[in-house]
């Protein structure tokens, strides 16, 4: 079964809004390169409740940033990179996501250096 994919670009504002939240950025990173089940996503962001994860997934889906595929009772998600549209938007997303990851790592290292 093929999931329907939006091919029209996501309005930048809606997209930027959706990724303004760190938890949603984390989810988007998880499904950026690979399809993941709702359960896998919930396990990877286990410090928030399932309703919160579910709400963030719905928001990302409504913004057109991820697609959902249902298989029986399971739901799978992946980034809808085609809908991310023109080059500039794609690059903006790429840098925003990657730099978000860089920030998390650098801050972790800064914190652990302080402790020692």
């Amino acid at each position: 079964m093929q999931a329907a994919t939006r091919t029209t670009p996501v309005p930048i504002e809606a997209a930027m809004n959706a990724i303004a939240n760190p938890r949603r950025r984390q989810i988007l990173r998880l499904v950026w390169d690979a399809q993941r089940s709702a359960g896998e996503i919930a396990a990877a962001v286990d410090d928030v409740s399932w309703p919160a994860v579910s709400q963030n997934l719905r928001l990302l889906k409504n913004a057109g940033l991820i697609t959902e595929r249902r298989e029986g009772t399971h739901r799978y998600y992946r980034a809808n990179r085609r809908a991310l549209g023109p080059l500039e938007a794609v690059l903006r997303h790429m840098w925003t996501l990657d730099l978000g990851r860089l920030r998390d790592l650098a801050e972790q290292e800064a914190r652990s250096r302080k402790k020692t």
Binding site: R78, P86, L87, L91, W95, T96, L102, A106, E107, A110
Partner: protein, 139 residues
């Protein structure tokens, strides 16, 4: 400073870490691959080259133009085999400004192809993105 900001992306990020730590994540390949790509060879000195294996199939590469630790990094940027953004075609400029124990990182990606050129190449780009998506699906 003379500059053309058409076809540019600018992203600002505040990081609660010193510029030295942030700069290490930009230039030390072991730290670098933790936030971008699956493999990286970096030679961070003016004229040095870098190659980043983005996803096991696509390679981003370029040359460092300015390396001024821990403040500024300028390099050319492109994807090998990409129709509109081949290596050498665009520039990525990163500046780090210390701010009360933290760092403000500003990234500018300059020299992106203009809108008309982009439309002309939409098909190629869409194919590229599909290939990227397909590469991800094999994981």
């Amino acid at each position: 400073m003379i500059e053309d900001l058409t076809g540019a992306i600018e992203i600002t990020q505040r990081i609660e870490a010193s510029p030295e730590i942030v700069f290490a994540y930009l230039t030390d390949s072991r730290r670098f691959v933790r936030w971008m790509g699956v493999g990286a060879e970096l030679d961070p000195r003016p004229g040095g080259r870098y190659r980043i294996d983005v996803d096991g199939e696509h390679i981003a590469s370029g040359q460092y133009q300015e390396v001024d630790p821990p403040r500024r990094l300028v390099m050319t940027w492109g994807w090998e085999g990409h129709p509109t953004v081949p290596p050498g075609s665009t520039t990525v400029e990163i500046t780090l400004t210390p701010d009360r124990g933290a760092t403000v990182l500003k990234l500018r990606h300059l020299g992106l192809p203009d809108e008309s050129e982009r439309r002309q190449h939409t098909e190629g780009w869409t194919q590229y993105m599909s290939r990227l998506a397909a590469a991800g699906a094999r994981d």
